[in-house]
């Protein structure tokens, strides 16, 4: 079968971005200004091609792959090329129901981000960097080789670092470095975990795709297959002690990326300083890398350890959920508030994972997807707010409904979507998580007081969103009192490209809220598959709502 992934999905955006960057690298400023228009159009065109591709994959136009019912550790569109033979490193790509929604999301967000930040300064460099970011992110999701996975994992840092550094706010220097160092530190620990895992493979039984020098392999499907065999025999893969250590090391990298309290402090800084486009991709896709990684590696390989650490994960998830929401209440900076709300929502994902229920996992997967559409809209609103009112302070602009109806409407919609209004995408995920959690608590005999957290957060989330809306959209619609930061300039509404981006995002929030099964079906199928293959043998017959 044709390799629909390597070149079209990963190579194409990366190469396109390098070519475009090389093209503008030796030009002066005025030339660059003139070039920014064609380069923007080209980037939009490229990203739309990508979107067409992935959408075509979804509708089985390419490859004729049915995304529903892909069983655990089976991948579609798989291709494997030898890369560094002596170490057992291959360029292996493939998609399953876990990664495909993320890839589609990335390709969906790329053009939307380009449209939403249509007038970003120094566009001749900015848009190619967005493309590179997209390519690197897709690379993370399609990689089925530990080396390749880690490579793309770190590669995503570089374009994001430059996005924050070159187009960020006042403290961009600090924020970009903190972002880079924080996540890099966690991922090198993860790297050591991966390497230790690599060498704990049994080299005696000939491994598929093993390196000639090491006798072990970096191939994720092969490792998962071995782990699955060991685990379903009732043994702990690699033994209990090693499994726990490796689980903890891998989880550290993913928890920081997610981020979960107490590793979340890089996120507000990065978000507040990042440009709108950077924030959209950061919140929309990059955070999901953490959750994706958890499913792909520690959960798939070390289900026993997952059970062992269940309480810890549940606690971290609950703390993230509650803490993120409570901190939101105290924020005066619009973007910071949205950033903390992301922390809170990532807590939902973690709780869903910790329930070890197919429904909880499906909730986590759908939350990844839904948050990936809603949070870019939140940040697009914040970006438009900043762009037009030159301030991020919540009190800076009042009576927006009168001055800027478009922005006010978008904000209201995004806020409502994020707090989980029924019929919008976020609601589905939150409801599923609540049901799964409830089911889990009752079935496992945990204290029902765990439900206090989510219940509290529902109220707090509504409180901070409604309160901030009240202070920006409605209050004091006095036209004689424009925001102080504007210095008496006329109050504009958002520009046309921004309107278009908002409409697209809102539309898809509604689509996935009303018809969640479009994405949810394949996710739920996959979670049931992984549950039956992986968790049921461990739990020993307990059927957790499958």
């Amino acid at each position: 079968m044709q390799d629909w992934i390597s070149m079209p999905l990963v190579g194409f955006p990366l190469v396109a971005s390098i070519v475009l960057l090389a093209f503008v690298s030796n030009t002066n400023e005025s030339m660059r200004k003139r070039l920014s228009d064609p380069i923007r159009m080209a980037s939009l065109l490229f990203s739309l091609i990508l979107l067409t591709f992935t959408t075509g994959m979804f509708f089985q136009y390419f490859g004729n792959v049915s995304w529903e019912g892909i069983s655990f550790n089976n991948y579609e569109f798989t291709h494997r090329y030898t890369w560094i033979e002596s170490l057992g490193i291959h360029w292996t790509v493939g998609l399953d129901a876990l990664s495909f929604p993320m890839v589609w999301l990335t390709t969906f967000l790329l053009p939307v981000t380009i449209i939403a930040t249509w007038n970003e300064k120094n566009g001749a460099v900015y848009f190619p960097i967005l493309l590179a970011m997209g390519g690197a992110l897709i690379g993370v999701f399609v990689a089925l080789d530990l080396f390749m996975f880690y490579g793309f994992w770190e590669l995503t840092l570089i374009p994001m670092f430059f996005l924050i550094l070159k187009w960020g706010g006042k403290d961009r220097k600090y924020a970009s470095q903190k972002f880079f160092i924080y996540t890099f530190t966690a991922s090198v620990v993860m790297l050591l975990g991966l390497i230790t895992l690599y060498f704990f493979q049994d080299p005696v039984n000939p491994l598929q795709y093993a390196g000639s020098m090491t006798g072990r392999t970096f191939d994720i499907p092969t490792i998962t297959q071995h782990a699955l065999m060991e685990n379903s025999n009732g043994n702990w893969y690699l033994g209990a002690n090693i499994q726990k250590v490796l689980f903890a090391m891998l989880m550290l990298g993913f928890l920081v990326k997610l981020p979960a309290v107490p590793f979340h402090t890089w996120l507000p800084d990065a978000h507040v300083q990042a440009p709108t486009g950077g924030s959209m991709l950061l919140a929309g896709v990059m955070l999901k890398m953490g959750a994706y990684g958890m499913f792909r590696l520690p959960i798939s390989l070390f289900p026993h350890a997952l059970q062992y650490f269940q309480f810890v994960l549940m606690t971290i998830g609950m703390v993230s959920l509650v803490w993120g929401a409570i901190v939101c209440l105290g924020q005066t900076n619009l973007k910071k508030m949205v950033a903390y709300s992301s922390v809170s929502h990532m807590g939902v994902i973690l709780i869903g994972i910790a329930t070890m229920q197919p429904m909880g996992w499906a909730a986590a997967l759908f939350m990844m997807f839904a948050h990936g559409i809603i949070s870019p809209m939140l940040f697009a609103v914040c970006g438009a707010f900043k762009h037009h009112y030159h301030s991020m302070e919540i009190g800076a602009m009042r009576g927006m409904a009168k001055h800027s109806p478009w922005l006010a409407t978008s904000m209201m919609f995004a806020w409502m979507a994020s707090l989980g209004l029924p019929l919008l995408a976020g609601f589905v995920a939150e409801l599923m998580m609540l049901i799964a959690l409830w089911y889990f608590l009752v079935a496992e005999g945990w204290s029902v007081f765990w439900m206090v957290g989510p219940a509290l957060v529902l109220a707090v989330t509504a409180a901070y969103y409604l309160w901030s809306m009240q202070r920006t959209i409605f209050e004091g619609g006095d036209e004689t009192q424009p925001p102080t930061s504007l210095d008496g300039e006329p109050i504009p509404d958002i520009a046309n490209p921004e309107k278009l981006a908002m409409i697209i995002l809102a539309l898809f929030t509604i689509v996935f809220g009303v018809m969640p099964w479009i994405a949810l079906d394949m996710m739920h199928d996959w979670t049931i598959q992984i549950f039956e293959g992986l968790i049921l043998p461990i739990l020993g017959g307990f059927n957790g709502g499958a």
Binding site: S25, W83, I84, I181, V188, L192, V204, N241
Partner: protein, 574 residues
């Protein structure tokens, strides 16, 4: 393994085996001769007859060009480099150069060849890009006496570069501690002078002096240890020393002697606590020379450590775990942590790179520690010899690719230096605006040093960590598959060195990123706006470094195999 051929000096096969070194020797002679060619004449005594003598007198136009020595040195070193590459492509042979009394002096094998590759590559790049660095004044116009003197002096600089390469390759070839020491001193004295070469600047002389004094003390201590070893074993042959060590190695005299010898080599690799002169030397030397110190000179010290620790005080002579294991492990831990922490606080980019090279020395020492532990537990380290080869491969790979990105970073600084100083981080300010491509190159070097994929630095760090973990884990995977139960503590403690190494890599990102931030974020210093000084040679050298860094990072398989071949040829017990 190819057959070992024994050759007497100047016997059959001598020239083909030592071809790169002989090329250097010829180049050195040419460097002395050619710039002195002129219209000199010789008067036959007692007559008025003057015969053209060609030496001295008014120089020809061609030979008076002050860039000529640079070209000769670059071509010589580059030719030697290509020659080694050619030898690699033709398949390696093992040739032993044996003296008439039957003593093995030099051994040409994969191990020595890979180091020749490092030395000649680094020095060729340095010599080529020094063309822009050493000021050439007054060509074509009237030349003052001082300028003429400065121009003439350039020949010395390049002669020293070639002798440095020669000494280094003798170290790589030596099979006798005495021969090794001669090579070491030849290379060391060349570097002392190279560091102090810009005697017009006070910093250069001061740092050269400091480097010379500390280096001499280190060499003296090493020489003392060498004499103790001679007293103990009655020979300085590595084979004899190793055999004697296996019998009676754990007595006081050889251990103290080896310890003293290690001080000498520890200084060369700038391992803590012998690294104090390194930052001063790097900061005072011209950047290409500093780059040589950080790459080739370090590789030379590494050879000494490898020979002493793995061949003489071999781990297998003491049941798998070497006697020096704990000592070297502690040294590795201290070196990498100290280097990184010190680099955090330095504002001078050259000092920063110096400390980062101390940190890299720590990583290499950690790898060496892992080799020392290769056969630590017969029960679980089943395929131990393969593990030892893997770590050694990683070490060699690291040394090879280090030339690309460490030297490359110094070459970028070299351009700034010829503009008038690169002693503060802020002098890099606005490089992205002034020369975007140069800034991108520096960015690639920095993230490669930090170990970010897909650069060569990542692959080398990955290989080192993989090697260490492999030794630490051994065959536990197979044992577990057979029902064995192991915990974290059952791994060999070198695993914790790997953990320390990744934590240190994370710390190091701080100061590497700072350079990037300054380049892309800050405005140029006053008087430093506009394009940088010209010089296509140094830019070509930087381009070569960038290409190597990226290409090896993306497709490093063949280089890994090359290094594996070299590692296998080091020790036949593996």
């Amino acid at each position: 393994m190819s057959k070992l051929t024994t050759v007497e000096p100047f016997g059959d096969g001598f020239v083909s085996a030592l071809c790169p070194e002989l090329m250097l020797f010829a180049g050195m002679l040419l460097l002395i001769l050619i710039p002195n060619l002129g219209r000199g004449t010789f008067r036959i005594p007692g007559t008025q007859l003057r015969l053209p003598w060609l030496l001295g007198g008014t120089r020809f136009k061609f030979t008076s060009d002050p860039r000529l020595p640079a070209w000769i040195a670059s071509i010589t070193l580059g030719g030697a480099f290509l020659n080694v590459l050619y030898i690699f492509s033709q398949g390696l042979e093992r040739v032993s150069i044996v003296s008439e009394s039957g003593k093995e002096l030099l051994l040409v094998n994969g191990f020595s060849r890979i180091f020749e590759l490092i030395f000649f590559g680094a020095l060729a790049l340095a010599a080529f890009s020094s063309m822009n660095r050493l000021q050439v004044k007054g060509i074509g116009s009237k030349v003052t006496e001082q300028e003429l003197y400065n121009n003439r002096r350039q020949a010395d600089f390049y002669i020293l570069m070639v002798t440095c390469a020669l000494g280094m390759s003798v170290v790589a070839l030596a099979q006798d501690l005495f021969v090794l020491f001669i090579g070491l001193e030849l290379a060391s004295f060349s570097t002392y002078v190279l560091v102090a070469f810009l005697k017009e600047s006070k910093v250069g002389v001061e740092s050269g002096m400091k480097y010379f004094i500390v280096g001499s003390v280190a060499s003296g201590v090493g020489l003392y240890g060498l004499s103790m070893l001679y007293l103990w074993a009655g020979s300085l042959q590595f084979t004899v020393l190793a055999a004697t060590f296996a019998e009676s190695g754990t007595t006081a005299l050889p251990l103290i002697g080896i310890g003293f010898v290690l001080v000498g080599f520890g200084f060369k690799v700038s391992a803590a606590p012998f690294h104090f002169a390194a930052p001063d030397a790097y900061a005072g030397a011209t950047s290409p020379v500093a780059g040589v110190l950080a790459t080739a000179s370090k590789a030379m010290g590494m050879i000494g450590l490898v020979r002493m620790l793995l061949i003489v005080a071999a781990p297998e002579s003491s049941d798998g775990s070497a006697v020096w294991l704990v000592c070297l492990g502690a040294m590795a831990a201290i070196t990498m942590t100290w280097g990184n922490l010190a680099a955090l606080g330095s504002d001078n980019p050259k000092r920063m790179l110096a400390y980062s090279s101390v940190a890299h020395a720590g990583y290499m020492l950690a790898a060496l520690t892992a080799v020392g532990a290769w056969n630590w537990d017969a029960a679980v380290s089943g395929d131990a010899s393969a593990a030892a080869v893997a770590v050694m491969t990683a070490l060699l790979f690291h040394l090879v690719v280090l030339v690309a990105f460490k030297l490359g970073a110094f070459l970028v600084l070299s351009i700034l230096e010829s503009e008038g100083g690169a002693s503060r981080l802020s002098s890099l300010g606005g490089l992205a605006k002034r020369e975007p491509l140069l800034a991108v190159a520096m960015f690639i070097f920095m993230i490669s040093l930090a170990g970010v994929p897909p650069m060569a630095g990542f692959l080398s760090k990955l290989l080192v960590i993989m090697g260490i973990v492999r030794v630490a884990v051994g065959d536990m995977g197979a044992e577990i598959a057979d029902g064995g139960i192991y915990a974290l503590g059952d791994m060999h403690w070198v695993w914790w060195l790997a953990l320390l190494m990744v934590i240190n890599s994370a710390i190091s990102v701080f100061y590497y990123l700072r350079v990037v931030v300054v380049m892309f974020f800050e405005e140029p210093e006053e008087g430093r706006e506009g394009p940088l000084p010209n010089g296509w040679q140094v830019r070509v050298a930087i381009l070569a470094c960038v290409l190597t860094t990226v290409l090896v990072g993306i497709a490093g398989d063949s280089l890994i195999r090359l290094c594996e071949m070299a590692a296998q040829s080091l020790n036949y017990n593996w």
